[in-house]
């Protein structure tokens, strides 16, 4: 081919490429479609609900409550059917031409894998939030128009389209936790056991016949919480534990974190996977679906550490009988320390407060504050939430962190 031929070929190729670029399905300047059909659910990927909605589980009885379903039908017919269709097929007259078409709720498989907290989030926020917003969802947010009960009612009625008659919960629809189950099988089963009872083959060897043992997810005892004593943790609490790990002597080091951990940190795992894992862990304990409104401990801003505050904290340390277990100097050598046992009757050591890198629930001031207020369920560490005022709690936090001297200041400010 001559030089002229090569030039013509090159120009032709560029022209064809330009033509193809022009002809790409751009469609319109106001293209709001994004990728409306990027999967077989019409673009409706069931991502984990964000933390503000992650604990919004629907009580199982709602799904089969005839009065709730009737109430839901009434609301659905007036507010939802115009897009979602009277039969839930997603082909209501206003829905068929939407950039993100409503899902077909008659699709058993698609509905089964949609978690209740995702569903509630979707109904509450509509298309105002990503990833739905980016896809051009026109779904209105209903949280301002419908009460929580009414949103549950609508969901219960929508659920009937799938033909499933039982409650819409993970133990009825394991599809909704398959991702988390697989992560659990790879990362957690060795210590926490196949059924989450804390009886994995490796777990018991970490501290033979002594506490701490791997958590039994089927019980009510969760140490690390922001919820009051005796209650289950929030999803945010579980995420914090999985992300930070549990500190203690021995165990692996984690890149970017100081100190050893008896439970490794999974901070390198993508957040979506950690949330999927938590959904599986929660599914092992139906009480996560049965609890009423969740109250969490709020941690007020840390006050400055002053000599007066330290002195008050030292007095409280004695008055609250902390020294009985933790010892006068906080070394975990109090007179009761050798007798301490957890609820499974395993001997348990009182934490050495001079070694903040071993504080299992974290050594930042807010971590210590939270531990004092919530206690550590399943261990002898009580909750002081009812007996100390917030300012007194801060006094005690300051004193506890002062016991480690420079280590405490370092741990309190930066160590995680």
């Amino acid at each position: 081919m001559t030089t002229r031929g090569w030039w013509l070929s090159a120009i032709g190729a560029v022209a064809v490429a330009f033509g193809l670029w022009v002809a790409a399905p751009r469609s319109s300047q106001a293209d709001v479609t994004g990728e409306p059909h990027d999967d077989d659910k019409g673009g409706h990927v069931h991502v984990p609900a964000p933390l503000p909605y992650a604990d919004a589980h629907v009580p199982p009885g709602v799904w089969t409550d005839a009065a709730m379903i009737a109430r839901g039908k009434e609301i659905y017919s007036t507010k939802c059917a115009v897009c979602h269709g009277d039969s839930g097929d997603g082909k209501g007259p206003a829905g068929v031409a939407l950039p993100l078409t409503p899902p077909d709720l008659r699709n058993k498989a698609g509905t089964a894998e949609m978690r209740d907290n995702y569903w509630f989030w979707r109904v509450s926020e509509g298309g105002l939030v990503d990833p739905f917003k980016s896809k051009g969802s026109a779904m209105p947010p209903w949280k301002g128009d419908l009460s929580v009960q009414d949103r549950w009612a609508v969901m219960a009625y929508q659920h009937t389209f799938s033909g499933h008659n039982g409650p819409h919960v993970p133990w009825e629809h394991p599809e909704m936790i398959f991702v988390g189950r697989d992560i659990y099988a790879m990362a957690c089963v060795m210590c926490h056991g196949r059924d989450g009872k804390g009886d994995g083959s490796v777990g018991a060897t970490l501290a033979p016949r002594r506490a701490p043992q791997p958590r039994d997810f089927t019980s009510s005892d969760f140490k690390f919480r922001s919820t009051p004593s005796g209650q289950l943790p929030t999803t945010g609490d579980l995420l914090r534990t999985i992300t930070e790990g549990v500190r203690g002597s021995g165990g692996p080091l984690t890149f970017g974190l100081s100190g050893y951990r008896i439970m490794p940190s999974f901070r390198q795992m993508p957040i979506e996977q950690r949330l999927e894992l938590i959904e599986y862990v929660k599914s092992l304990n139906p009480r996560f679906w049965e609890r009423p409104e969740i109250k969490t401990v709020s941690v007020p801003p840390a006050p400055p550490m002053t000599p007066e505050r330290l002195a008050r904290g030292q007095t409280l340390y004695k008055d609250a009988e902390c020294l009985a277990c933790h010892g006068e100097r906080g070394r975990g050598d109090g007179p009761l320390a050798p007798t301490l046992k957890d609820t499974k009757q395993f001997p348990i050591a009182a934490t050495d407060l001079t070694e903040p890198q071993r504080f299992k629930n974290g050594a930042r001031p807010e971590d210590v504050y939270r531990t004092l207020v919530t206690g550590l369920s399943g261990t002898p560490m009580p909750s002081y939430g009812d007996s100390l005022e917030p300012d007194q709690t801060w006094d005690l936090v300051c004193y506890v962190l002062s016991l480690s001297g420079d280590k405490g200041r370092t741990a309190g400010v930066s160590a995680r």
């Binding site: 070929s9 022209a15 033509g19 022009v22 751009r26 319109s28 106001a30 709001v32 897009c83």
Partner: protein, 126 residues
């Protein structure tokens, strides 16, 4: 290596030109493709026959001016009042009936640099 004759080179150029012309023609058709738009009504201008929507595409929220032509239908859906019928029926609206805050979906064509609506459907009145 032999030098190709002029006639063969001319045929190649002609084929390239034919491909380019057909691609450009095809792209012109696609350019005017229909695309659904959905969003919240921000403003209605009855004199200019436009409705401005706040719409989101690929993570970016922007205001889209949709132009109405004489044949554009604006419809809302209401429950049929006929005995025995439970479905929805279309109810025609005028542009002035649209109110800011309503959520609408629009079937539009991109023509001459403008979004020109065929149908405007009211999704939610609020």
């Amino acid at each position: 290596m032999t030098k190709p004759d002029a006639a063969h080179g001319g045929t190649t150029v002609t084929r390239f030109l034919a491909v380019i012309v057909s691609v450009v023609l095809w792209s012109a058709v696609v350019w005017a493709d229909e695309a659904p738009i959905a969003g919240t009504v921000k403003a209605v201008d009855t004199s200019a026959q436009t409705v401005t929507l706040e719409s989101t595409a690929k993570g970016k929220t922007r205001q889209v001016v949709v132009h109405l032509k004489p044949g554009t239908k604006i419809i809302r859906f209401t429950r049929s009042s006929e005995p025995g019928k439970t479905g929805f029926v279309e109810q025609a609206l005028g542009l002035a009936d649209l109110k800011p805050g309503w959520i609408v979906s629009v079937e539009a064509k991109h023509e001459g640099g403008k979004e020109v609506a065929d149908v405007v459907k009211v999704v939610l009145e609020r």
